[in-house]
């Protein structure tokens, strides 16, 4: 399944790249959302193998975490990444909205005044 999921990661990144190359602000943001999904899934596959149905919890009966359980560390990293990304997505949303408002267009090619000579 890791192989299939690797392909899925690839499609997420490909979609993200394509969307980010569009001119619409909305597509740009969607592209970034896909990018973060791809990253999260990629991180997820970097753990100690992909395990079906055995989350990293201490078994109540035995009092120990099964060694075969999924890797908890990369899950913790992904959680951090998800939350950070949440903040960023919100920020970009608000920023895109305000830029959209200030420029009067959602075409990124209309937002060239700051740096074009």
């Amino acid at each position: 399944m890791t192989f299939v999921l690797s392909l899925v990661v690839g499609t997420l990144f490909a979609g993200a790249a394509y969307l980010m190359l569009r001119r619409s602000v909305v597509k740009l943001i969607l592209g970034m959302a896909l990018l973060s999904h791809g990253t999260n899934l990629l991180l997820f596959l970097m753990g100690d193998g992909v395990v079906k149905g055995m989350p990293p919890f201490v078994d109540e009966a035995t009092g120990v975490t099964p060694t075969a359980a999924a890797d908890p560390l990369n899950q913790a990293l992904i959680l951090t990444a998800i939350v950070i990304n949440f903040g960023f997505t919100a920020f970009i949303l608000a920023l895109a909205y305000r830029a959209n408002q200030a420029v009067g267009s959602d075409d990124l090619d209309d937002m060239v005044e700051t740096d074009r000579l």
């Binding site: 299939v4 499609t11 790249a17 999260n40 201490v58 359980a69 959680l79 950070i84 997505t89 990124l108």
Partner: protein
């Protein structure tokens, strides 16, 4: 002591500001004490040096880089040090008269003092890096002096041209010096000179030498870098006299002389210097003859002389070094005087153009006398010191180490230059003082104040005095200098009258005779149209280069930084591909294991494959909300993957975040145009598609390879083992988050918090909500005003709006736009 002199000159530079307050021109005499003190300091040490010793002082500064405050005083340094401080004293006095009415005189003195300190540093430094440092400082002070009258565009241009050329050459020099030092194993000049044999054999010899030449040629205004010097005449005359004639421009010559013992006597050295020097000599002389502006004329004559000096440094032979030091001294004396006198004329007559002058002999007799003395010396007429120098010069070229053919050419060139020198000297004197008087620019032209003539007077009289009685003393002064150049003991005996009718004497007489004969045609020669095509003009080429630089950089920048985010992203993605795909393809792709497709159930595969479909749908969506929704489904499916593959916390968080983000999206982008416009061309889409596929394939390969190669066991086993015991929790992931790696979580909630602060400010602080600002820009919208008011209310600043806006400082673009607009309208 040397260190003290140099550093105190620099440190005391600010006292020049006194000139703003004290009585003028008396203050010039007071400030003149500064260089005088230095002069005395060197004079006191002169006997020791003349006796053949070298004074060396060392203070460590940055020994790690080889930079030390190491100064040495040998004959060459002494000659220059005396010139710099001596002429400096005269210039300080002269300035007080010349700039008597200028409010910025204090500033001028500061620059002069900095220059003097730096120039002393250049000639005294015994460490290449230290030398370079002072070298650059002289360029900088020259820049400030040339640009002194910076309200004028020409002054700014002249200053900039000089700085760019000299600093550019300086950079080459720096690299060359570092190379040289690396080859010699030391940064101390005395040691480098000692390593001459090794240096000439080193593979770095050629590059180092060429780079050093570049530095020296730019500094000493050698063709084709000479163009900055005439433009530097925008400087007030004292600066021209001091820097651009007597001292700074000789720094390059000084350095060539200084490194002569170590680097000379190779064909590269000899012929480069000979060709460049001779060309400069002739070009300078030829142009000088055609100049209408007296300072321009003097500048080109300086160029010519500098060429001659470089020639002397190059041709080799027993006599060249003697000629070199004699020329340096002679030129400093008469050219310094000529500049100051030209300044006096300019000061009194209000113009520097020969065509607007003439017949001033009656109004300015003293000036006439002094100018004539200096000009005669410049023309090499006996019994002035210039003649002595020219004798030595001709002696040197006839005894050079060049091949006979080359030697003959050089002799011819020197004679031609000598003839031209007589001609432009004649033009100068006759053009100012004799002939028909042009309409006066000023009403009452009269003699310059006596104080203003003191300094040129001293120099002019020295040109007379040195040959008439002081020659032995001069020889004694120059002897150790020559020794420093040749690297071994030399005897110098200058003499006014040749002992025999040797070839040099004949040539000298020939030059004087033909020069005198041609004087009556000097005017015509000067008025001849230039034989060179118009575009072959240094100034034009420089301007064209600058404009070309500006327009090409503008075109390039416009093309690259074109404001389009998608292009930037494209460049970024391509760069990413370059740095990850290359090593992947080269090193890692081979290690990829074969795909393992066992143990996959239908629900897994269906839900996993929905993700690519949803991605594709997001791309192809024609409706925005549709795209947002489909992208949301991607998130939901990813969370489902987390559920299946044992990440329940991930799934929960991911899904919550997904839905809340989608709602945020709806909150601001809810009401949208129904569909996306097709903005990009098909070709663009195809290109982007290729890039996207490449990115996707690369990432898939990375994921597969990295997830299937585990070189080292992950450390996560410890977390599983310790969760309950150490972290008192059964949810290992949560224990990591709040305990084992709680520090990450700390940072992560801070990210959320900061994002909130930023978003809140972005949405509430609205320039267009501010009635005071928005009204002027005509951009107020009721919504924005309401939001701004709401923000202010929430911030607890309601009712203080007016106060705040009044205080809103100009740094903000909003108000500045208005301000500058107002300011323009007032004019």
């Amino acid at each position: 002591m040397l260190t003290a002199i140099v550093l105190s000159m620099l440190a005391l530079a600010p006292i020049g500001l006194l000139a703003r307050y004290a009585p003028r021109p008396l203050i010039g005499w007071v400030l003149g004490l500064l260089p005088l003190a230095a002069f005395v300091g060197f004079a006191v040490r002169a006997p020791v040096v003349l006796a053949g010793s070298v004074l060396i002082e060392t203070l460590p500064w940055v020994p790690e880089m080889g930079l030390n405050l190491r100064f040495s005083l040998d004959g060459l340094s002494l000659l220059f040090a005396l010139l710099v401080s001596g002429i400096g004293t005269l210039i300080f006095i002269y300035t007080a008269y010349y700039l008597a009415g200028d409010p910025g005189m204090g500033r001028f003195y500061v620059y002069l003092a900095i220059f003097m300190g730096s120039m002393l540093g250049v000639v005294l430094a015994d460490n290449v890096l230290l030398l370079f440092m002072f070298w650059e400082l002289t360029s900088v002070s020259s820049y400030l002096l040339v640009g002194y009258k910076h309200d004028y565009a020409d002054a700014r241009r002249g200053a900039q041209m000089g700085l760019l050329l000299t600093v550019g050459g300086g950079l080459a020099l720096l690299v060359g010096l570092v190379l040289l030092s690396n080859a010699a194993g030391s940064f101390e000049i005395s040691e480098i000179i000692g390593a001459g044999e090794e240096l000439r054999a080193s593979p770095f010899y050629t590059p180092a030498l060429l780079l050093i030449f570049l530095g020296c040629f730019t500094k000493s205004a050698q063709f084709p870098f000479h163009i900055w010097l005439p433009n530097a005449m925008q400087a007030p005359t004292p600066a021209s006299a001091y820097l651009h004639s007597a001292t700074m421009v000789k720094a390059g010559v000084y350095l060539l002389a200084r490194l002569h013992p170590a680097l000379s006597e190779t064909p590269l050295w000899t012929y480069t210097l000979t060709v460049v020097g001779a060309t400069t000599m002739l070009v300078g002389a030829a142009v000088a003859l055609r100049k209408d502006d007296i300072k321009g004329l003097l500048a080109y004559s300086t160029v010519s002389l500098l060429g001659t000096m470089v020639l002397m440094a190059g041709i080799g032979g027993h006599d060249a070094p003697v000629a070199l030091v004699t020329l340096i001294l002679a030129h400093a004396l008469y050219k310094g005087a000529l500049f100051m006198l030209a300044g006096a004329v300019d000061h009194e007559a209000g113009t520097r153009k020969l065509s607007e002058l003439g017949g001033l002999s009656r109004e300015m007799p003293r000036t006439l006398v002094l100018t004539s003395l200096a000009a005669l010396s410049a023309a090499g007429i006996p019994p002035l010191f210039g003649f002595v120098a020219k004798e030595e010069l001709l002696h040197a070229v006839t005894h050079s180490e060049l091949t006979p053919g080359a030697g003959l050419v050089v002799v011819g060139a020197v004679v031609v230059a000598a003839v031209l020198g007589i001609l432009y000297a004649w033009r100068l004197v006759s053009g100012i003082f004799f002939g028909p008087a042009a309409p006066r620019k000023k009403d009452h032209v009269h003699e310059a104040p006596l104080g203003m003539l003191v300094a040129p007077g001293v120099l002019a009289l020295l040109s007379v005095g040195l040959p008439l009685g002081l020659l032995p003393m001069t020889s004694a002064l120059l002897e150790p200098a020559v020794m420093a150049i040749t690297g071994h003991a030399e005897e110098v005996s200058l003499h006014l009258m040749p002992s025999a009718l040797s070839l040099p004497v004949v040539l000298s007489l020939f030059a004087i005779g033909s020069g005198a004969a041609l004087t009556r045609f000097a005017g015509q020669i000067g008025a001849m149209p230039s034989p060179l095509p118009a575009w072959l003009n240094g100034d034009r080429i420089y301007d064209a280069a600058i404009n070309g630089l500006l327009s090409s950089t503008t075109a390039f920048t416009r093309a690259v930084q074109n404001g389009r985010l998608r292009n930037y992203i494209l460049y970024s993605l391509l760069a990413l591909l370059a740095v990850i795909l290359t090593p992947l393809a080269l090193f890692a792709l081979g290690s990829a294991p074969a795909p393992d497709l066992s143990n996959i159930t239908l629900p897994e595969i269906v839900t996993a494959l929905l993700i690519p479909f949803a991605v594709l749908a997001t791309i192809r969506a024609r409706s925005r909300l549709g795209a947002i929704l489909v992208a949301g489904v991607v998130g939901a499916m990813v969370s489902f993957m987390f559920v299946i593959y044992s990440g329940p916390d991930l799934a929960l968080t991911q899904l919550l975040v997904e839905v809340i983000t989608t709602i945020f999206f709806l909150l601001v982008f809810a009401i949208l145009p129904a569909s996306f416009e097709r903005l990009s061309k098909p070709a663009t889409r195809a290109r982007d598609g290729v890039v996207a596929l490449a990115i996707g394939a690369t990432m898939a390969a990375f994921t597969w390879i990295a997830s299937s190669t585990t070189v080292f066991p992950p450390i996560s086993a410890v977390f599983k083992a310790e969760a309950l015991a150490e972290g008192k929790g059964e949810n290992v992931v949560n224990v990591i988050l709040v305990d084992f790696r709680g520090f990450d979580t700390m940072g992560e909630i801070t990210v959320l918090f900061i994002a909130l602060l930023g978003i809140y400010a972005m949405l509430r602080l609205r320039p267009e909500s501010d009635p005071a600002i928005a009204d002027m820009r005509g951009k107020t919208t009721p919504d924005a005003v309401a939001l701004g008011r709401r923000g202010r209310r929430e911030m607890g600043v309601a009712g203080r709006d007016g106060h705040d806006i009044g205080q809103d400082t100009v740094g903000e673009p909003a108000t500045t736009a208005i301000r500058s607009q107002d300011a323009r309208e007032e004019i």
